[in-house]
């Protein structure tokens, strides 16, 4: 790592305009995270058009701020009303809410903020150390390796998303198929355009993402309105005691390491990281039987992990140009909308984007700590606004934003269509993230496949004779079938146990 790069990053991050948008990003992220019913993917997708007038550095600083800010915000509802603001805060409810019932809501929120700050800052150091060498190595990759990497991203996301693996897989395939819409770049033949001129230049990812993540979620909330319970917990004593620190430092350290490495895996993300961190903490703790009754390490571990994971997820995005989750897929799409070419060359051709983002994350984490410690009661008061009043505001921003991408009413129609589809998917547990990720990766995946086959004069051997692509494809196959094998093994074990008893 060249220290000049980091200095360049800090010189950008401390510019007033970047400080302002980092602050806005983390503030909006905290609010989005605190509101049940709207997650970071929807938040980033809806607010992406607002960043069009900005430089790519400022825009990425704001979008990343929303992403990691949402991780902080999710804690507030988990602790105060036993409702996770987003999925990565589910584990925090177990001990956080119990602490609130015992009159220790302030300590839970304080430790969550401090743990998130420590994990967020340490994981930025890890991002800074891991991404540049990975990008340097990936520059040597050819189309077969890229193809394999993208297949890995899709298979892990499809198999690791909650619920049925088949549903994750079918959504990824639907996304890839939607990615083929438009004029074929190599031959010029129109595919699935049905004589609609708007479809010749592909299906824009943003209307689809806004439709599935934001409008679909809003329709679900119209179907089943969210009523947040009144906050009964008293917020005082936000600074943890010496005993709290003694109980939590190990959990924060383990949560950071687990979160960062799980975050770097395509598809795993902050939710799985927080589950793993909580489970690990329970296993190593001397008071494992007390977990779920309000122990502070039960809050510190998942909160540290989800923050570290959101930073870890930026490693494959920035170093390889391959997103691992719905939110980072939207961020990748944002990079292309700003005219940048995501991939390993991004760090050498546009070092200001990566290093400006890294430096801003140090600053952003400090801002979040300052915002979350004294202002936690203010964020909690956001929960007093009925969600039904927020629905028109979110919809208005989403519709105007989708229009502004290409100044196209057709795109608004696409967003509404995918909003309806997203609602049905939400109702019947079909995950949206694999579809959006596949839509973003689809054209790149097809290009890499066709270039590889051109290199090998039409033979698929090229994917298995090159060691890196072969290893990645084997890993992708394992990631796809591992959950299936695990389920079969569990069923066989259950049957054996039932037979024995």
């Amino acid at each position: 790592m060249n220290p000049d790069d980091l200095l360049l990053g800090f010189s950008l991050a401390i510019q007033p305009v970047n400080l302002l948008f980092a602050f806005l990003g983390v503030l909006l992220g905290t609010i989005i995270g605190a509101l049940p019913g709207i997650g970071p993917s929807a938040g980033v997708a809806v607010l992406l058009p607002v960043t069009f007038g900005m430089s790519p550095v400022t825009a990425m600083i704001m979008l990343a701020g929303i992403y990691y800010g949402a991780m902080y915000g999710g804690t507030i509802t988990s602790v105060l009303i036993n409702t996770p603001g987003e999925s990565s805060s589910v584990m925090t409810t177990l001990d956080g809410y119990q602490m609130a019932l015992k009159g220790r809501a302030g300590a839970a929120l304080g430790m969550a903020a401090l743990g998130s700050f420590i994990a967020g800052t340490l994981s930025v150091v890890l991002l800074m150390l891991a991404a540049p060498p990975l990008a340097e190595w990936a520059v040597t990759f050819g189309p077969p390796e890229y193809f394999a990497l993208m297949v890995l991203g899709l298979t892990t996301l499809a198999s690791l998303t909650s619920g049925s693996m088949l549903k994750g897989l079918v959504m990824a395939l639907a996304g890839l198929l939607l990615g083929t819409i438009g004029i074929d770049v190599m031959i010029g033949e129109p595919r699935y355009t049905f004589d609609q001129v708007e479809l010749y230049d592909r299906l824009d990812f943003l209307p689809v993402a806004v439709g599935l993540f934001a409008i679909g979620e809003i329709l679900f909330n119209i179907y089943q309105p969210v009523y947040t319970d009144p906050i009964k917990a008293k917020l005082s004593g936000l600074l943890p005691t010496r005993q709290d620190w003694k109980d939590s430092w190990g959990a924060i350290a383990r949560g950071t390491v687990i979160g960062f490495f799980v975050g770097t895996l395509p598809g795993a993300g902050a939710t799985i990281a927080s589950f793993l961190a909580y489970a690990t903490e329970r296993r190593v703790s001397k008071r494992a039987d007390k977990f779920g009754t309000g122990v502070i390490e039960g809050v510190a571990a998942p909160e540290s992990a989800n923050n570290a994971a959101s930073t870890g997820a930026l490693v494959p995005l920035m170093a390889l140009g391959i997103p691992g989750s719905g939110t980072t897929a939207v961020m990748l799409g944002a990079l292309t909308l700003y005219g940048l070419q995501p991939g390993p060359l991004l760090m050498s051709t546009h070092p200001e984007v990566f290093w400006g983002l890294v430096a801003s994350m140090y600053v952003g984490n400090v801002m979040l700590l300052i915002l979350n410690l004294p202002l936690a009661p203010a964020f909690a008061s956001v929960l007093r606004i009925p969600y039904s009043v927020l629905i028109p505001i979110i919809l208005g921003i989403a519709l105007f934003g989708v229009y502004s991408v290409e100044n196209s009413v057709f795109n608004v129609g696409v967003a509404i269509l995918f909003g309806g589809i997203g609602f049905v998917m939400r109702m019947y547990a079909y995950p949206a993230a694999p579809l959006v990720l596949a839509l973003v990766l689809g054209p790149m995946l097809e290009k890499a496949l066709r270039q590889s086959m051109q290199m090998s004069l039409g033979s698929v051997d090229i994917f298995f004779t090159r060691p890196v692509s072969a290893a990645i494809l084997i890993f992708a196959l394992v990631s796809l079938f591992y959950p299936l094998l695990l389920a079969l093994w569990a069923r066989r074990r259950d049957r054996a146990l039932a037979g024995a008893s």
């Binding site: 039904s388 097809e446 066709r450």
Partner: protein
């Protein structure tokens, strides 16, 4: 979700089947590389297989549920579905009135309909939420970001 899985799988199979039908009309390959039809054909074939697997899984679970006399999960809540359908009708109507009313007015009209008719807020809340939202987004996108939007009879 046994019945829903079965029907969901069937609907997806129809979608992938139609995509395969259309995909077969594209040029499958060139001399040394896959052509424009290669990805659509393979993706829709794989999608068709996975959809049928979902439907078959749903059917198996349905049979098992019938045998064990278990009850299906609760059906859809009719009032909730009506709210969603009315919202989607409003959104679709909004698209058609954009050319004559302009984007800002069309969105304002839809938000007023949403808050007043679908969400049953009071007139004051509905007017404040819809007008406030549109004024805010108009200032951000049109004034601040210079996005040209279709204008209506009132000039915005």
């Amino acid at each position: 979700m046994t019945r829903a899985d079965f029907y969901g799988g069937v609907i997806l199979a129809v979608f992938f089947g139609a995509a395969l039908w259309e995909g077969l009309t594209f040029q499958y390959g060139t001399e040394f590389a896959p052509g424009p039809g290669f990805a659509p054909v393979w993706l829709s074939t794989l999608g068709l297989c996975v959809s049928l697997a979902i439907a078959a899984h749903g059917l198996l679970l349905m049979r098992r549920t019938e045998r064990s006399a278990e009850t299906e999960p609760p059906a859809l809540e009719p009032r909730g579905v009506a709210r969603v359908v009315f919202t989607l009708i409003g959104l679709t109507a909004m698209i058609f009135v954009v050319p004559s009313l302009g984007l800002a007015l069309a969105i304002a009209g839809f938000l007023l309909y949403l808050t007043l008719v679908v969400q049953r807020h009071s007139l004051l809340v509905a007017i404040c939420a819809s007008a406030g939202t549109v004024v805010f987004v108009y200032l951000v996108f049109v004034r601040f970001l210079d996005v040209p939007v279709p204008t209506g009879p009132l000039g915005f």
